[in-house]
Symmetry: C2
Subunit: 270 residues, 2 copies
Amino acid sequence: MATLIEVGDAGDPRLDDYRDLTTADRRPDRPGGRGLVIAEGVVVVRRLIDSPYPVRSILGVPRRLAELAADLAGLDVPAYAVDADTMAAAVGFHLNRGVLAVADRARPPEVRALAAGAQVLAVAEGVNDHENLGSLFRNAAALGVDGVLLGPRCADPLYRRSVRVSMGHVLRVPFAELPGEWPNSLHVLRAAGLRVAALTPAPDALPLAAAGLAGVRTALLLGAEGPGLTPEALAAADLRVRIPMATGVDSLNVATAAAVAFHEVMRSVR
Amino acid sequence: MATLIEVGDAGDPRLDDYRDLTTADRRPDRPGGRGLVIAEGVVVVRRLIDSPYPVRSILGVPRRLAELAADLAGLDVPAYAVDADTMAAAVGFHLNRGVLAVADRARPPEVRALAAGAQVLAVAEGVNDHENLGSLFRNAAALGVDGVLLGPRCADPLYRRSVRVSMGHVLRVPFAELPGEWPNSLHVLRAAGLRVAALTPAPDALPLAAAGLAGVRTALLLGAEGPGLTPEALAAADLRVRIPMATGVDSLNVATAAAVAFHEVMRSVR
């Protein structure tokens, strides 16, 4: 049972994890960054509590803490009850969702084991936009993707904005950086029996529906909107697939394109 | 050939279409609204110029107008060249894309004719979020959807934020309000030979891949994220389809779900 503690002073050191949130969520390897995982709002806080990330504390207005009562019952951490003004003064801006939770980062899953048990994985290269990455995790969660592997130049999935845009699903979908030299590092996936399919708008790639992905264990390579996958990543894939698109249209958002491809791979699984 | 006119005074009445942009793009039927169509940035301005909407003028910093030189060559409207400060003073905020264009609204397409020639249409009910609606148009354009019909309680696709999020594709994909009493008004689509398929997360709906949509002329009914389609709209559809999703995940964003469904309907067409 979480311990409910009323706090009336925004300067109380027990609120330090929440202080000046715009910097508190920086990666531990960045200046001023502590790498805390921060969840905002009832739905996402609930997902954090259900996740493997060790929760440090909760901070919220009484009404929101009451909504979370059942979730807090099994949790042995402090829950700081504050009014909206104290909360705003501590975090540095007005936060209208009324509740936050902070957790430590956890050890990522072992890539070999993740790949061995996976039907579908997403592999991101250069997806450096926090919102696109968050949306990608939301879509991965919805469509039953088993995990996300991060190649070079990706954003931090645990950055506060990614967590929020993902609706907390970055806390549920296993992810890890792919170790080793990119893109040779993809071999670990192939060794686990996954076919590596690169999603690209290139006209000579196979149309998604003709690529025979349905039901095949697949690692789907995804590049950033705009530049797309590097030539090295494309060359390292077993096949290249495209979503047939109307002429004169740039492309789909990377998370949307990924959703279409995830559905295609999963279409015969469920 | 657009006439290049240098303007040094932000108060110049020739810039009135751009004044205080946060209100200038309101619908004509709303207080203070003039219902102008406003395009921001080189890519979207180019799409506006290529669209059926009658362009009134262009406003931009010299560098951006130079990028548009080829597009402006066939256009008989004034192009106002200003510096960035004058532009910011006229529109009411700093606009870092550096170029704007304004057009009048155009008469919408006739629904019966649009339906008669369509392979796939999207029909939105209650999609009242400008960004979701803009994304929906972007995805519709990319996946070759022939048009979007607006049922009750939808946002204005020509609102500035929708235009921007759609990357200008609301200016290319034909759309119209569906006339008549909702949802009986859907009969006009059925009369045109389209099958009306409602997209819903309901567990008893048909999985998308099993619904036999591929290659069938379809009007795809889409509801808002959260509430989804009303019972009346669901009852008026010929069939209900769902995207198979992992348990415990709320839903996909409406524009993302639509993209998956559009791809499914189009998979045997291209």
